[in-house]
Symmetry: none
């Protein structure tokens, strides 16, 4: 049996991605989770706290997944490809997390400061740094490079969701990656 905190987060994920977090009452989350109304505020003193917790949880999970895909001997381009593919596929598989993240990152809850805190972002920025040092990437701010990649991943995921035929088309995905790669490479 899952503990109630997890149940709440699972329920919140479903409801948030369906209707957005503004349109999702905390009472509904508790009900969907099968727990009492009040316990939500035991674990998350505020609805905003729940929302932030969900965001960090998602980033944690995509981080763990992404890191597990990388291999040591990879070239820089291979590493970038691996991370790009991991991001695209993880978001396709975790559609609710993807929907939630999109909303969250474009809401007043979000700021660049919050973004930069997470090790997923930090890891990506380090990789961008390497690319710049090796003179492979364009010579611009590394955070910007990361954000460009992130936005392109989002666009790709949205497109693949609307066009499921392409979801298993390796050739097509390679095309998509080339777009991203061309954008950042010198």
């Amino acid at each position: 049996m899952l503990d109630k905190r997890t149940k709440l987060m699972n329920a919140a994920k479903v409801l948030f991605s369906e209707n957005g977090f503004y349109a999702t009452p905390t009472a509904k989350i508790a009900k969907e989770a099968g727990v009492s109304n009040g316990i939500l505020f035991h674990y998350f003193p505020t609805k905003a706290d729940l929302i932030h917790a969900m965001y960090y949880d998602i980033k944690d999970r995509i981080f763990i997944y992404s890191v597990s895909q990388i291999y040591k001997e990879a070239t820089l381009k291979e590493s970038i490809y691996t991370l790009w593919l991991a991001a695209v596929e993880w978001n396709l598989e975790n559609a609710e997390d993807f929907e939630f993240t999109l909303q969250f990152e474009n809401s007043p809850y979000f700021s660049t400061e919050i973004e930069k805190k997470h090790k997923y972002v930090q890891m990506s920025i380090e990789l961008a740094e390497q690319g710049r040092i090796q003179n492979v990437f364009k010579d611009i701010n590394t955070l910007l490079l990361f954000q460009i990649m992130s936005r392109l991943v989002e666009t790709n995921v949205k497109f693949l969701k609307h066009n499921p035929t392409f979801q298993n088309d390796v050739e097509f995905k390679n095309k998509l990656f080339e777009i991203a790669w061309d954008a950042i490479k010198k």
Copy 2:
């Protein structure tokens, strides 16, 4: 003196960009606009109607501005550049419209269907079509090409807002454009 409909939209723009539209009560909009509570619902039967009206109004205005910048004899790359620059500069100048649009396009109010309806999008897609026919752009879905450009514009605008020093740096902006151009060109 502005008519009340316009006053309402102006007030809404300010408040929406400050706190988001979920956190902005209609009563507050009316107050800020200096009109009565009830009249809002005369012009916009529903809060959602107001929100949609604002979105289309923004798209109208950026469309008019963009079209005014294009010149006939321009090459394809020049046209794309012009549109890209128009979008970046318009969004920088109209920060509230930019904030609102970001939120709106990532909210449950929005869908690709809504997006495709607007002539600004249609014009952009036509241009993308030309690029594909001329074998200049990568051979992928034109809507996707447009969305890629849009997302990159957003990223650029956000970056320039956070780093105002670059806002008048033509060389830097050219760099940014090259990123976008490299992304879509063959």
Copy 3:
């Protein structure tokens, strides 16, 4: 027909005096007043605002009543007597207002600063000032003199409520007044 603001205050008076304002939900007040739930917050943005409004309203009313009882040619003692009697009788007649005031003045909502603001208190202090100048009252702080009188009035009213037989016993009331008078006179 009474306006809703007045209805709300009347309902609040009854319920507050019955159960105290902490134990009286705003919803119950609205229901008792026969108005909608929300309108309460139109007139009183906060429950605390309602509570304060009630206090000032009570003070206004006892002030008007008291002033109406005083006559010009009265001696100082006569004036004090008149005010004392007015206070005792008004509080006996307006039992709910009395109960409310007691609670309020001994709650965290109350402070000496709030008390001093009201013209009823200011008038009383002026009278005390006269008594001191005329060397009739004890030589102490006039606010203290006022508070002593007030507390004695309270005690008297409470006693008369518990012992209704005495409520129309003029001789007894004179006895009570002598207590108060002896307390403050030199």
Copy 4:
């Protein structure tokens, strides 16, 4: 180390005097006391029970202190003075107990029946009885005499709290006592 019951009462005293008992959650009391949430209800089945226990505890302590001050050969006036002074000083020293008592005695928790139960009150009434028999006090209900004295003590304590300069001014305190004495003496 104090036992948990005592810790709870100490914590409650502080919190109640700061915010009132309505605004003090039992959970906060437990936290401040450094004990678990649930144990409070082991010692006090109900929040109301805790409140009542606090009241009786305070009365017990002021009773013990007051009795310790009285000496056998004292005249009636001396005894009254001793009790008055004991009450004033004890309440000044125990500000939190004083605040709590004021609130409690003006809340719906309180009634004259509760008041009369306590030996502190009974002792005071007996003394009032003596005064009446000896024809020294005014010829009125002894409970009323006691309540008059109590209310005057309260007023005095409040005044001394607001004007700390007088707290050690023996002459001033004598003046205050004369007010009380004049009130009740024939």
